[in-house]
C-alpha cells in the first residue's frame, strides 16, 4: 500500500507551488484566495518509497463553511491520510496556525511547512522554527520559500521521518474548566459507540458537537444518534449557564489562546507598527476615489496587451499555418499521388482550414492568460474585488463574486468552478450565470476576424465594445434578478482575505499560461478536429438532388448548407440570415472558436480555387522566411509593448504622443485575406447592402458573445448547479442573444 500524504493550508499560502515543486506536476497557482477547488494528486519518491501526495483545497478552518472546506475536512476525517503537510504562511503565522491546531485535534500527524519565509523576513519577522517544533511536541517544522523551491529536501526528509515513525503524542489546544469537563464526558460517550468510533476521532467529534457544526449534526441525525445529540445540547446549555458564553466561542477562544502562546514564544517582531508596504499600496489602490480609475486603467492595459501586443504573432502564425503549412501539405499530397483526391480535400480544406483557423489565435490567448496570471499572482485581483464590491452590489452580489467573473474573461469553464469559493448557494448560481456573459478567450477570435474584415484598423473598437456589451448584459441581468427572482434577499456577507502583494514568479505565470492554452490545444485537437471532419463531410455530400456528387458539390448545395439554411430565417431580422452564418453558429455550440474554423472551411474551401497563385519558393526559402517572420514578429511585439505607454497617455484629451514604428511600415489599409473578403461578401448579401453588411456583422458578433457558452461550459454548469438552472440559463442566453442581435440590426438600420 502506498503512503498517502495530504497537503493542507489556508488559501493562498503557496500550497500549489510546493505541490508542484514536490511532484513536478503542472497545477495552477495564484495569489487570490481560493484557487484549488478540487483536490489534485501527484506522486513523490522519497528514498525508495512512493508516496501519494494529495493537494487539498485551501481552507481557513475545518468548519464546513464553503464547498472547498468541506472537501478538505471530509478528506482528512474519512480518508485518514498518514500525515498532513500543513503549509503555513510565515508572514501571517498566528492566523494560519488556527487550521493546524484543528488538524492536530483530528489526531493526524502533522508536518508544518513555514512557507513564504522571504516575505516574513522582508518585514523583519523572525521565526524560531526549532523552538516552534519543540513547543509543538517535536513535530517537524520545515522552512521553505515555495517560490524558489528552497527547503524541499528537508521537507522530503520530514515526510520520510513521519511516515516511518509516526509521533505518539500530538500537541493540542487544552480545553479547561467546564468546557474541558463536558468535552471529555461527551468524548467518553462517543468512545462507547463502535459505529461512530469507526468514522470519527471521539474527541474531535465531541468538539464539533459542542461547536454545533451543521454538517456533523445533520450526519448524526441521519444516523439516528438522537441520544448523543441530546447529550451535546444539554452540555452546551450547562456550559452557557456556567460561563455566560456559548461553547463555540469558548472553543475558538481557547484554541486561539493555545496558538497565541505558541506564537509569542517563537515570533519576534522588530517594529511597533503593524503597517507593511502592502498596506501603503492599498491606501492608493483601494482608495475611495482613485480605486476605480486605477482598476479601469489596469483593465485597459490588459486589453492593450492582449489585442495589440499579440497582433504581430497572430499575423505570423496565420501566414505560417494557412500559407506555408497549407502549401506544404498540398505539395506533399501531390508528390505522393494523392493530389486532387477527396483525401487531399479533407486534409487541406477540412482539417488544416478548420483546426488551423483556430490555432491562429494561440498567441492572443497566451497574452491574455499572461495578463490575467500576472494580475492574480501579484495580489491585485483581490483588490479589484474590493474596489468592485460597490458595483457588484447593484447585482445583489458582493466583491468576491467578481473573481469568477474576471476568470470568465479567460474561459467560462474555470469561472463556473471558481464560484465554489463563494459560500452562498444563491451567490454561486447567480455568479455562474453572469460569468457566461463575460467574453471568454474563445469568442475573441470571432471579433478579431470580423473586426479586421469590416472595420480594418478600427477593429479594436469592435472588440472592446463586445467586452462592454457583455458586462452591460451581465449587469442588467443581475439587476433584473435582484428585483425579481431574488427580491427581498440580502446579499451574502462579504469577507475576503487580502493577500500581501508579491512579485509574480515567471515560472508560475508561464505554468498558468501553458496550462490554459493546453486546454485550448486539446480542444483544437479533439473537438475542433472532429467538428472540422464532420463539417467537411457534410459539405462534401450534396444536399439537393442533381446538385453534384461526393466531393464535387458547390458549397451552397451541400448537405450542411441545406440543413443550416432551414434555421437561417430565424436570423433574418438580425441581418445575418445566411446559411453560412447559421451553420457556424450551430457548430459554435461545440466551442465558440469553431465559428471561425467553420467559416474558414466554408469560405476558404470554397474560394481556394480562386486563390492567387503564389510564386513557387523552394522549401529552404520558405523555412527561412518563416524564421525571419518570427523574428520580425518578436521585434514588433516589443514595439507594441512600448507603444502601450504613448497610447495610454494619448487617452488624455489634447495629448498626442507619437508611437514607435521600428520598421517604418505604414499601417496596412486594406489587406483582406480570403476569409475576410468572403465574409464581407456573405454579410452584404444577407443584409442587403454594404453599410448594412457591417451592421449585420456587429449583430452577429453580439449574438456570438451572448448565446449559450460552449458545450463544455454547459456541462460544467450542469455539474455545479443542476439541470433546471442550466436549462434556464441556456434558454435565457439564447433569447437574450437573439433579442440583442435583432435590436442592434433594426435600431442601427434607422441610423444608416
Amino acid at each position: 500500500m502506498t503512503v498517502m500524504i495530504a497537503l493542507a493550508g489556508n488559501p493562498n499560502v503557496g500550497k500549489s507551488t510546493i505541490f508542484n515543486a514536490l511532484t513536478g506536476s503542472r497545477q495552477h497557482v495564484g495569489n487570490w484566495p481560493g484557487k484549488t477547488v478540487e483536490k489534485k494528486e501527484g506522486r513523490l519518491r522519497v528514498g525508495d518509497e512512493e508516496i501519494l501526495l494529495v493537494d487539498l483545497p485551501g481552507a481557513y478552518s475545518l468548519t464546513a463553511y464553503s464547498i472547498e472546506e468541506i472537501i478538505t475536512r471530509d478528506f482528512i476525517v474519512h480518508e485518514r491520510p498518514t500525515a498532513v503537510v500543513a503549509v503555513v504562511d510565515a508572514s501571517n503565522l498566528e492566523r494560519n496556525l488556527y487550521l493546524v491546531a484543528q488538524v492536530l485535534e483530528l489526531e493526524t500527524p502533522v508536518i508544518i511547512v513555514l512557507n513564504m519565509t522571504d516575505v516574513a523576513s522582508n518585514r523583519g519577522l523572525k521565526i524560531d522554527a526549532a523552538q516552534l517544533s519543540r513547543r509543538m511536541g517535536g513535530i517537524p517544522v520545515v522552512e521553505t520559500v515555495g517560490n524558489r523551491s528552497l527547503g524541499l529536501e528537508p521537507l522530503k526528509q520530514a515526510i520520510k521521518q513521519v511516515t516511518e515513525n509516526p509521533p505518539l503524542a500530538l500537541p493540542q489546544a487544552q480545553y479547561d474548566g467546564v468546557l474541558g469537563a463536558e468535552m471529555a464526558a461527551l468524548a467518553a460517550q462517543i468512545t462507547q459507540n463502535p459505529v461512530l468510533v469507526a468514522h470519527y476521532q471521539p474527541r474531535w467529534l465531541a468538539t464539533k458537537l459542542l461547536e454545533n457544526d451543521e454538517a456533523i449534526v445533520e450526519a448524526l441525525e441521519a444516523q439516528g444518534e438522537t441520544e448523543l445529540l441530546a447529550a451535546a445540547a444539554a452540555a452546551q446549555a450547562r456550559i452557557e449557564d456556567a460561563t455566560e458564553d456559548d461553547a463555540e466561542t469558548l472553543i475558538a477562544d481557547q484554541r486561539y489562546t493555545f496558538i497565541g502562546d505558541l506564537v509569542a514564544s517563537v515570533l519576534e517582531r522588530p517594529s511597533t507598527s503593524i503597517l507593511t508596504t502592502s498596506d501603503k499600496i492599498d491606501e492608493i489602490v483601494t482608495h475611495r476615489i482613485w480605486g476605480l480609475p486605477i482598476f479601469l486603467l489596469m483593465m485597459w492595459l490588459v486589453f492593450q496587451f492582449t489585442s495589440n501586443v499579440s497582433a504581430p504573432f497572430l499575423d505570423w502564425v496565420d501566414g505560417f499555418v494557412n500559407g506555408t503549412i497549407y502549401g506544404w501539405a498540398g505539395a506533399l499530397l501531390t508528390a505522393v499521388g494523392l493530389g486532387d483526391t477527396w483525401f487531399a480535400a479533407l486534409l487541406t480544406d477540412g482539417i488544416i482550414a478548420g483546426v488551423g483557423g483556430v490555432l491562429v489565435f494561440v498567441p492572443v490567448l497566451l497574452f491574455l492568460y499572461m495578463a490575467l496570471a500576472v494580475l492574480e499572482d501579484s495580489g491585485y485581483m483581490a483588490r479589484a474585488a474590493f474596489v468592485m464590491d460597490r458595483v457588484m452590489r447593484w447585482m445583489g452580489l458582493h466583491g468576491k463574486s467578481f473573481l469568477p467573473l474576471i476568470v470568465g474573461f479567460g474561459c467560462t469553464v474555470p469561472a463556473v468552478y471558481a464560484t465554489r469559493t463563494l459560500e452562498n448557494e444563491k451567490d454561486r448560481k447567480l455568479t455562474g450565470f453572469l460569468a457566461t456573459f463575460m467574453s471568454c478567450g474563445a469568442r475573441l477570435p470571432v471579433y478579431v476576424v470580423f473586426g479586421a474584415a469590416f472595420f480594418g484598423t478600427a477593429s479594436g473598437n469592435l472588440i472592446f465594445s463586445m467586452y462592454l456589451v457583455g458586462i452591460a448584459v451581465a449587469l442588467a441581468t443581475g439587476f433584473a434578478l435582484k428585483y425579481t427572482v431574488y427580491k427581498g434577499q440580502q446579499p451574502a456577507p462579504f469577507v475576503m482575505e487580502l493577500p500581501p502583494y508579491r512579485l509574480p514568479r515567471p515560472l508560475d505565470v508561464w505554468r498558468q499560461m501553458w496550462e490554459r492554452v493546453q486546454g485550448f490545444l486539446i480542444k483544437a485537437s479533439t473537438v475542433i478536429l472532429a467538428v472540422s471532419t464532420v463539417l467537411w463531410l457534410m459539405m462534401a455530400v450534396p444536399g439537393r438532388a442533381n446538385a453534384g456528387s461526393f466531393n464535387d458539390v458547390a458549397a451552397e448545395d451541400s448537405l450542411f448548407a441545406v440543413l443550416s439554411g432551414a434555421v437561417s430565417p430565424i436570423f433574418q431580422p438580425a441581418g445575418f440570415g445566411s446559411w453560412e452564418a447559421s451553420g457556424s453558429l450551430i457548430t459554435g455550440f461545440m466551442a465558440k472558436e469553431v465559428i471561425v474554423g467553420t467559416m474558414s472551411q466554408i469560405f476558404v474551401g470554397e474560394e481556394v480555387a480562386a486563390a492567387e497563385v503564389t510564386e513557387p519558393a523552394s522549401f529552404g526559402e520558405q523555412v527561412g522566411e518563416a524564421v525571419l517572420g518570427f523574428g520580425e514578429a518578436a521585434v514588433l511585439t516589443v514595439q507594441e509593448l512600448l507603444n502601450i505607454a504613448p497610447r495610454t497617455i494619448n487617452l488624455l484629451p489634447g495629448v498626442t504622443l507619437p508611437t514607435f514604428n521600428f520598421f517604418g511600415i505604414e499601417e496596412e489599409v486594406v489587406d483582406n485575406t480570403r476569409l475576410e473578403a468572403a465574409l464581407i461578401g456573405s454579410f452584404e448579401r444577407s443584409a442587403g447592402s454594404a453599410a448594412l453588411g457591417a451592421l449585420a456583422a456587429v449583430a452577429f458578433n453580439v449574438f456570438v458573445l451572448l448565446y449559450v457558452p460552449c458545450m463544455v461550459a454547459v456541462a460544467a454548469m450542469r455539474q455545479e448547479f443542476g439541470n433546471r438552472w442550466t436549462l434556464a440559463q441556456v434558454g435565457y442566453t439564447l433569447a437574450v442573444a437573439w433579442i440583442a442581435a435583432v435590436l442592434v440590426f433594426q435600431v442601427g438600420k434607422l441610423f444608416i
Binding site: 481557513y60 478552518s61 468548519t63 463553511y65 508572514s91 501571517n92 503565522l93 498566528e94 492566523r95 488556527y98 518585514r123 519577522l125 461547536e211 454545533n212 451543521e214 458564553d245 463555540e248 466561542t249 475558538a252 477562544d253 486561539y256 517582531r269 517594529s271 511597533t272 507598527s273 503593524i274 503597517l275 502592502s278 498596506d279 501603503k280 492599498d282 491606501e283 492608493i284 483601494t286 482608495h287 475611495r288 483581490a382 474585488a385 474590493f386 464590491d389 460597490r390 458582493h398 466583491g399 459560500e423 440580502q490 446579499p491 456577507p493 462579504f494 469577507v495 475576503m496 482575505e497 487580502l498 493577500p499 500581501p500
Partner: protein, 100 residues
C-alpha cells in the same frame, strides 16, 4: 489623500469602554472584539479568519460606505462588507492612549 497611518502593535491595558459595532471604529484606531451577532455560520467564519472575541483588530480603511479593511492577528488583512462589520461588537481603544 489622508495622512499616513501609524498604528502601534501593542496596547497597554485592556479597554473597558462601551460596546459599539466595528463600523463605528475610525481608520487608524484599534479595537478589541467582544461579541459577534448573527447566525452561527457567519460568526464561525469571522472566528476562523481571526476575529474571535478577545482578538485585537486595527482598522486600516473605513470610508463610511463600502467595505472596510482591518488587520487581524497582526499580519492578516481582511476586507469586510459593512453588513458584516455591523455585527462585530468591539470596544475601541483610542490611539493616543496606546503609545508604547
Amino acid at each position: 489623500m489622508e495622512e499616513p497611518l501609524n498604528i502601534p502593535l501593542a496596547i497597554k491595558e485592556a479597554p473597558t469602554g462601551p460596546l459599539l459595532p466595528l463600523t463605528m471604529v475610525n481608520r487608524g484606531e484599534t479595537a478589541v472584539v467582544k461579541k459577534i451577532k448573527g447566525c452561527d455560520t457567519v460568526r464561525q467564519r469571522l472566528i476562523d479568519l481571526g476575529l474571535n472575541p478577545g482578538a485585537k483588530v486595527q482598522v486600516l480603511k473605513n470610508e463610511h460606505s463600502g467595505p472596510m479593511i482591518v488587520a487581524v492577528k497582526g499580519d492578516g488583512r481582511l476586507a469586510l462588507g459593512r453588513n458584516m462589520t455591523h455585527r462585530v461588537l468591539v470596544t475601541a481603544v483610542a490611539n493616543e492612549n496606546v503609545k508604547d
